[in-house]
Symmetry: C2
Subunit: 157 residues, 2 copies
Amino acid sequence: MTDSPNDVTPDRLSKADALPPSDQHAQQYVAVRNAHETELLEDYVELIADLLQHQGEARSTDIAARMGVSQATVSKTVARLKALELVSSKPYRSLFLTKKGEAMAAMSHQRHAIVLKFLRALGVSDRTARIDAEGMEHHVSQETLDIMQRFTRERER
Amino acid sequence: MTDSPNDVTPDRLSKADALPPSDQHAQQYVAVRNAHETELLEDYVELIADLLQHQGEARSTDIAARMGVSQATVSKTVARLKALELVSSKPYRSLFLTKKGEAMAAMSHQRHAIVLKFLRALGVSDRTARIDAEGMEHHVSQETLDIMQRFTRERER
DNA sequence: TTAATATTTTAGCCAAGGTTAACTTGTAGG
DNA sequence: CCTACAAGTTAACCTTGGCTAAAATATTAA
């Protein structure tokens, strides 16, 4: 490599947007991979909080049904959540959030709500907004969240 | 369970939005999991297309650097891409897209561009918009994409 | 209180997506 | 032409997040 005379000079070939420098480019993907790591944990914790609030109890059966996953999978993931001290429970009993878990659930819930309301304010149908929000919420930075929130408020007035 | 007299009646306890019915709720998560399956493949294919266009060549070193990942990882993923007939190449040589791969890259690129432009039109800074777009692009439905596109066009006028 | 049913856990399996270390192949320079 | 370095591959390993089947524990109803 390294600057041979017949190097392709991108600017002459491509319409507009060139590639960002490698290291900056890499950071984008790293950010996405990091998000993926906590994504599932956040979903669980958020769902547990919802169940506690709405049904008074968080049982793995319900989690399995709502996540569209087998009970065995829930068991395994809950074990991880307990190891991370996000969830507490006695064997064969229903689940509770630790302080740490509650904090995560609250943040997660708030982000989710902001994205969902934003999509609806944009004019996206309820059904689609719900699906998209679920996927998007873990990939929206604070900066963007602030802007979404402002946008939604303006539309509401 | 099942309607005991002292069942918690959610509506009295919670502020607004109750939980959606289980099966509908599950579909949201299923949709996200499905998106995750193709996500990485799309990113690779999109990046390969970019490299081909901007540098005339797609080499695994560059992919590794830009994805922030080891070369071994690239090798393995490329093997998968080849098995799926998205990419073709001879051992130790650089990579090409099949027709199928090109189609996927084109779609992916377009979605990415729509989301990125939308975020910028919203007022998100370039750096943040790039990161968020990378994460969001795989979770935005066609309906939302259309709305984003319309929004961006209106702002441009 | 005991038997049937429901729920939770455990064990064993699999694929994806990472890693490092060691090996192979390709390419430039002397 | 051959040697050094760069690039690509392979092997062996790890974790995550799914699954099914079987075992353990709770709950309900007779």
